[in-house]
Symmetry: C2
Subunit: 389 residues, 2 copies
């Protein structure tokens, strides 16, 4: 284990109908909030009306900014920043999934500085303050409802970049599993894949003596593998949704990387995919992760065999641990396909013509490497994309 | 799963030598603190000097109150309350294990009220405010360094009672696994047993659809079972201590009871043992828990069999799950003995003469039941104590 600080202050409010509490939770921070959301789904479902009623009942005024898209854009973030400044708003309330929440976090950082918040995403300076963020979660996936991260896409140049700061932990997050009942199956599948990816990024580490967090991560992975097919088969299963939703939050709240260093190379590679092709993050991860695994497997066959055996119930082949490891990867791919996702670039309709460009962008033209389990240069990223074809 | 709120704000600072940061962490809350600790061990080890040097370097003044004993007493708490009031102290800093921390939490509640803090422990009213508490942990055991609870003994009447309040989460806790290197083996064994007990109290629930937190709890139990014998065999193994220490904190920080209702009957029964006989809490739990299990086993044989199979690697006897369950209990007892602890009241030198009295006190003369997995009246507690003889 390596040394660490851990301090996740997000208050989780979990259960049936808990969105009725959003007004009182918000009012603890500000009586004037930015209500930030995506498209029409929260209006169609009636969630919008319930949130607004709760804000009104608590005497909270709001300014609205809808229109967040998957792979949220810096352009809309800048609109939100302007609204916060103009109206003196004191809280950014995201109602939606990871895109709305990541966008809200960006707005929260931008609202308290004079310059452009995109600079933080380009690594120029670090945020020193931010407005508080609250969330009402509708999609178990990104884990942003209790994480310190935000990922934003700059539509000029098709760049997708992340900021990580303790300032970005939401102050409160409202998790009602029933809100997930109406999600389209494709979004459910992408969400479960994103959760698995957060766990695998943390699992594959070169830090030794991390057996405790290994086991915690395995526990969450087993839960996702068990529950995702069940909610796809029965969309209104509260019991399955509740475990999957809570697992998705715990997967990414930073407890599971205490004392270890995660990899995150697959996320970086996927960001290039979704930056250019605007594919769903989870769909991209279902393609990139197995390819990454095949590329790095020999770095630590024992760790991959442990994962295959404990998480995927592969019979350990003691004479040939690599075969066990490879069977684990095959089961991950089969799991993705069982959720209805493709596992190759071709399944996403992505050809070979821009692989070089993605490999170059991922590493800023070899000015940096990505990943920690194995440090990848652009040639290595190119090989992984080749394995993903 | 049942609905829940979860909000654990304790900042964990974990690693080698991190006690050097106590001054800056404390100064964020107050420049005048109560330094609260137990006996001479922190002076003998040099920890006291390092803490004091860090406070001085950060410009933090302190008033001292040592002398906390295992099963911390309300008398000393009242002294601490008086010191906080007299000197206008703004933070209670506990340096030690669960006893020092629980005592600090009691002082923190008492310092801001006019009345007697013991009233809270007797269930008269709830705390509405408390001074902030910080900790430097020396014993992985009680989990109080990141919990919302405090257990205090009233020496008049030999009562041991608990308060649980979100106000009691420490603001920061400093965890240096090296501080555990000098613990006597008996304390190590009691600590590991206390951690296991916190996990088992949470594990045995009647709430259904809690597979996710089941698996998390199992992960922590397996870690304790793996690491406790290793640190007993090799006291200065940083790698093993670090995982055991962090596991002990996670075991009791309330994440593992999200969405479920723990039992806590064994803790209540043990409080009667240690209230009267002043036995170490962990030593008492090693006796009470197996007896409790034998008494309640048939309430949910499947859950006990799952625990035996997954946690203790008992081969599942599909035709006779109860045999699997009983083998799990036998392995728990064997584990305790391997740590050097007894598993019967007679091992603690406790005879049968006050069993009736303990059963009566545990239930306030049958004015209440204890436990949730099975609600126990005084007759049931008496039967459990009989099984523990």
């Amino acid at each position: 284990m390596i040394d660490f600080d851990f301090n996740n202050p997000t208050k989780i409010v979990f259960g049936r109908g808990v969105e009725a509490r959003v007004g009182t939770e918000a009012a603890a921070y500000s009586k004037k909030v930015l209500l930030h959301y995506g498209g029409g789904s929260i209006k169609a479902s009636g969630l919008y009306d319930r949130v607004v009623a709760s804000l009104e009942a608590a005497g909270v005024e709001w300014v609205e900014l809808g229109g967040v898209k998957p792979n949220p854009r810096i352009g809309l973030v800048r609109e939100g920043v302007a609204l916060c400044r103009k109206h003196g708003l004191g809280l950014v309330l995201a109602v939606g999934g990871g895109s709305a929440i990541d966008s809200a976090k960006a707005i929260a950082m931008g609202a308290v500085i004079d310059g452009d918040v995109w600079d933080f995403y380009m690594g120029k300076g670090k945020p020193k303050a931010a407005l508080p963020v609250g969330t009402v979660l509708t999609i178990p996936a990104a884990g942003s409802e209790s994480s310190s991260g935000s990922v934003i896409t700059n539509e000029e140049g098709q760049y997708k970049r992340a900021v990580d700061s303790e300032l970005l932990y939401p102050r409160f997050s409202i998790l009602d599993p029933e809100l997930a009942f109406t999600l389209p199956p494709f979004q459910v599948a992408c969400g479960a894949t994103d959760i698995m990816a957060h766990l695998m990024e943390r699992y594959f580490t070169t830090v030794e003596n991390v057996g405790f967090t290994d086991r915690l991560i395995e526990a969450v992975m087993k839960t996702v593998i068990d529950k995702a097919p069940k909610v796809l088969a029965k969309a209104k299963s509260y019991d399955d949704w509740s475990e999957l939703m809570w697992a998705g939050t715990v997967a990414h709240n930073n407890l599971l990387n205490t004392g270890r260093i995660g990899d995150w190379g697959s996320h970086d590679i996927e960001h290039e995919l979704s930056g250019i092709y605007d594919v769903a993050h989870g769909a991209g991860l279902a393609v990139v992760f197995p390819a990454w695994m095949k590329h790095v497997l020999k770095t630590d066959v024992a760790r991959f065999a442990q994962w295959a055996s404990r998480v995927w119930n592969v019979d350990m082949d003691y004479r040939n641990p690599e075969a066990t490891a490879r069977e684990g990867i095959a089961r991950l791919e089969a799991f993705s396909r069982s959720l209805g996702l493709g596992t190759r670039l071709s399944d996403l309709g992505i050809g070979a013509d821009r692989l070089d460009e993605m490999a170059r962008k991922a590493t800023d033209g070899d000015k940096r490497t990505i990943g920690h389990f194995v440090r990848l240069n652009s040639a290595a990223v190119r090989q992984i994309l080749e394995l993903a074809k």
